[in-house]
Amino acid sequence: MYIHKVVANLYRDSVSLMQLSASLAKLPGVEQASAVMATPANLDLLKDAGLMDDAVPASPNDLLIAVRGRSAAPLEAAIAAAVSALDKPPERPAGGGPAAQPPRSLQMGLAQTPEANLALISVPGEYAAAEAMKALRLGLNVMLFSDNVALSDEISLKKYSREKGLLVMGPDCGTAIIDGIPLGFANAVRRGAIGVVGASGTGTQQVTSLVHRRGAGISHAIGTGGHDLHQDVGGISMLQGLKLLSRDPETKAIVLISKPPSPSVAKEVLAAARRAGKPVVVNFVGAAQEAAGENLYPVKTLEEAAVAAVALAAGRRPARASTSKVTLPRIAFKKSQRYIRGLYSGGTFCYEASYLLDDAWSNTPVNPARKIKDVWKSQGHTLVDLGDDVFTRGRPHPMMDHRLRNERLLEEAADPEVAVILFDVVLGYGSHPDPAAEMIPTLLKAKKGRALAFVASVCGTDEDPQGLARQEAALREAGVLLAESNARAVMLAAAIAKRLA
C-alpha cells in the first residue's frame, strides 16, 4: 500500500527533496518514499515508481510526499516525520553569514526559543500590560515586575490567564523563584520542599532566606503582586499559585504570605488552602489569627512562617514560637533618648514592625490611627517605609540606592529623643552589590559623639552575590546589633526602648 500527503503551496528545491526522500526511505516499515514538487513530470515519475496510480489533486506549486509499505502506521509516521522536517525552513547561509538578529518582540523571542515558558516583564508601567497580554496570548506565563499598571488591566490580564490556564505573577511582583532560579529581586536559595506564594516581595525574600539559613530549601516561590488579594482582583494569582504548588510533587509544605486580604478573598484563599492536600502555613502579616483548619498553620511573623514550614516539610509538627530572651546592649543613653526610628527599604518589614510595635507611627501602619502626618518628619516611635511611592518618585528604590536612607538616618541621629535606629538590609539579586559599604560611613558619622543603638537584620543567604557573612561581619564591626530576622530585630529594639521608657 502507499499513502500521500499534499502540502499546498510549499516549495523546496529538488536537492533538499531528494535528501528528504532518502531519509524517509530509511524509516522502518517504509519500502519506498518520494517527496517532490507536484509537477506533471514528477507525477509521472511517481506513477512509474509505483507510488501512485490515480491522479492526486495537486498543482505544481504543491509539495507531494508519497510513501509505500505494508502497513499504514509506519507510513503515517513517515509522513508526519516528513511534514515536521519541512516545517524547519533552511535559514543560515552556508559558511556563517550575518549574526542572528536579537529578538525585538516576545513573538520573535519565542520563535527563536520555542521552549520558553515565562516572560519576565519590567518595562515602564504604561507599556507593561500590553507586553503581558502578548505573552499570555502566545501561551507564556508571566512575571510582571512593572508597577503603575491600572487595576482594570490587572483584572483583565488575570481573568484571561485563568481562562488560558496560565499564571500571572504581578503586576508589581518583585520576587519569585521558579525551578530554583531567582526572578527579579530574589535571594539565592537551595532547592527543597517548601513552596511559597507571596503577595509581598520582601516577605517572600525573608521566608525563603530563613528557610535556606535553617538548612532547608524552596521548591518554587510564586509572587502574586501586591494588589492580587484586593477585593476586585479576588486573589486569582494566589489561588492559581496554591493550585500549582498543591499539585507539585516536590512541594511538601506551602507558605502563604500577604498583608491582610479583604475578608471575602481571605475566606476563598483559606478554603482553597484547606483543600491543598498538604500543610499550609499562613502569614497574613499584621492580621489577627484566623481559625486554623486541619492542615492550616497560622503564624504571626515571617520568621515563624519559615520555622513552621521547615518543620512541616520534614514531616514534623511545628514547635510553638520561641520567646527567647534578648540580651540588651550596655549603652549609656542620655535621659532624653527614648524613641525607635525604623528606616526600612522593605515594605513588608516595615509593616511587620508596625504590627509588632503597635504604638509606633508609620507611613504604612497596620492601625490606620497611627498614620504619620508628615512622612518626612518622625514623631515618637516612627517606622518609615522608604520604598513608598512618595520616596521613589524619580529615584531608584532604596534597596539599590542608599542615599535617601543615609540622609534620613543622619537626621534621626541628630534628634535628641532618638535612642534606637532600626533598619533592614536586603541582599540578593537586584539589590545593591555592597549595602554594608554604602551604609557604614553614615553609621559611623551618626554615632560620633553620642550614644545610639543600631538594630538591624540582614535578609539574605551565603549564596547571594553580596555574601551574608561578609555583610553581617562588616555591619557588626561598625557596631550594629544584628538579629536573624526582622521580627527579632524589632523585638530587640522594643526591649531597649522599654527599658528607657
Binding site: R12, G109, A119, L120
Partner: protein, 467 residues
Amino acid sequence: MSALFATPLSVLNVGLASFAEAIVQRGGAATRIEWAPPANGDARVGAALAKLVNDQRVEAANAQAADRYLAAQPRLEGVGVAREVLPGMGERMILHAGPPIAWERMCGPMKGAIVGAILYEGWAGDAERARAMAQSGEIAFEPCHHHSAVGPMAGIISPSMPVWMVVNPTHGNRAFSNLNEGLGKVLRFGANSPEVISRLKWMEKTLAPTLRAGLEVLKDLDIKPLMAQALHMGDEVHNRNVAASSLLIKRLVPALLRSSAPAQDVASVIEFIAGNDHFFLNISMAACKAMLDAAQGVPGSSMLTVMARNGVEFGIRLSGLGERWFTAPAPVVNGLYFPNQSIKDAAPDLGDSAITETAGVGGFAMAAAPAIVKFVGGSSQDALANTLAMTHITLRRNGAFTLPALDFAGTPACIDARRVVDTGILPVINTGIAHKEPGIGQIGAGVTRAPLACFTQAIAALASELK
C-alpha cells in the same frame, strides 16, 4: 499551566537586563528581548496591538490571504490600451503612483509627468495650457492602485497609453502596468519635452502592436518562473532587472521573428528592449500586483497588499481593511547619488514599485542580488542581513522565489503589519531616487524603509474593526 513546572524554566526577559544576567548566573535559561516601546511609544496603539497578537481570527484570515498570494500564478496576457482594459478608466483621467493626492500637493516629477501625459494625449497644445488644465479640475487624478494597476516613479498612465496585461488564472484577477521607457529624459521622472512625447507615441504606435504580435505567438508566459530564474541570476526584480530583461528578450526574439510584425518594427523593438536593463520592471510590478490583489479583501487580515508612494506620502493597504489607505510623509532616501547630485536635490520616495517588496521580492530578496547592495553602499553580508531581517515581519516564505545564498530558502513574503509594529523592524525597499524638479530624471539609488506611522494607523484601524 503545568507547563511552568513540567518543563525547565526558560525565560524571555523584557526590560531590565540585570534580571536576565541573574537567571543565567544561577544556571537558568534567559533570552533577552531588545525591547523598545512599540508603535513609537503610543501606548494606546500598543494595547490594541497586544490584543491582536495570536488572535485566531487574524491568524485564520492571514493564512487565507497568504495562501491566495502563494497560489497566484501571474501570466503575461498581452498589451492593451489603458482606456480599453483598465477597470474604471475614464476618458479624462490620469492615473498616478501612490496614495491619492490632489494636483496642488503633487511633487515636481509627478506634475511634470502629468503635463507630459496631457501633451501626449493632445488635450492641450503646450505645457502652460496643460498645467492650467491640470489645475482646473477637469481631469480626474486617481491612484493606479484604484484601477488594478501600478506604475514606477510618477506612475502616470493616461487613456491612450499601452499597458501590460497580467492575468492570474488561479483567482481570475488581472493587473496592469505601463511600459518602461528606459532611462534619461523620461515621463516617469517628470520629463515632458518633445522627445519624451514622441517616444511615448512610438511606444503606442510601434512597440505595443509589435509586442502584441510577439505575445500572440508566445502564448502563455508564466511570470513567476521567470522571476525565480532572474533571482538566481543576481536580480531582485525591483532595482535590478538586467537578468530578467535578458530572459524576457530571449523568449521574445524568436516569437517576434515568427510573428506578423514588420521586420523593421521588430528590429527597433528589440533594440529598444535590449537597451533598457529595466524593461522587465513593469512586468515584475504587474505580476506582484496580481499576486497581492489575489490576497486582498480577507476580513481581519493584517497582511499588507500595497506599499506605494506618491512623492509626498507613503501609503499602505491591508488585505483586511478594504480600500483604505494608511499614509505618512514619504521619506527622502539617503542613498548614493550620481556625480553632482545630492540628497538636497532628491524628491521624497516615489512610485508604485514598492509593490515588489510587498510581494516578497525587491529589498526582501536582496540576498539574491549582492550587486545591488554594492550600488547602494553595503556589503554582500548586508544583503543577506536585510533579507533575514524581513523574515521577522513576514508570515511566510515564498517557495517559488528561492535564494541560493540562503540555502534555497524562499524569500520572506506576506508582511504582517502586527509584526512590523511589534518589532519596529520596517520593510526594506530598494529604490531609485528622482530629482525633485521635473524632467531631470534619476539622480541616485538607495535603500529606504517604510514609515512606521502607516503601520500604527493600520493596526489601530484593524483593532477597532475586530472589536
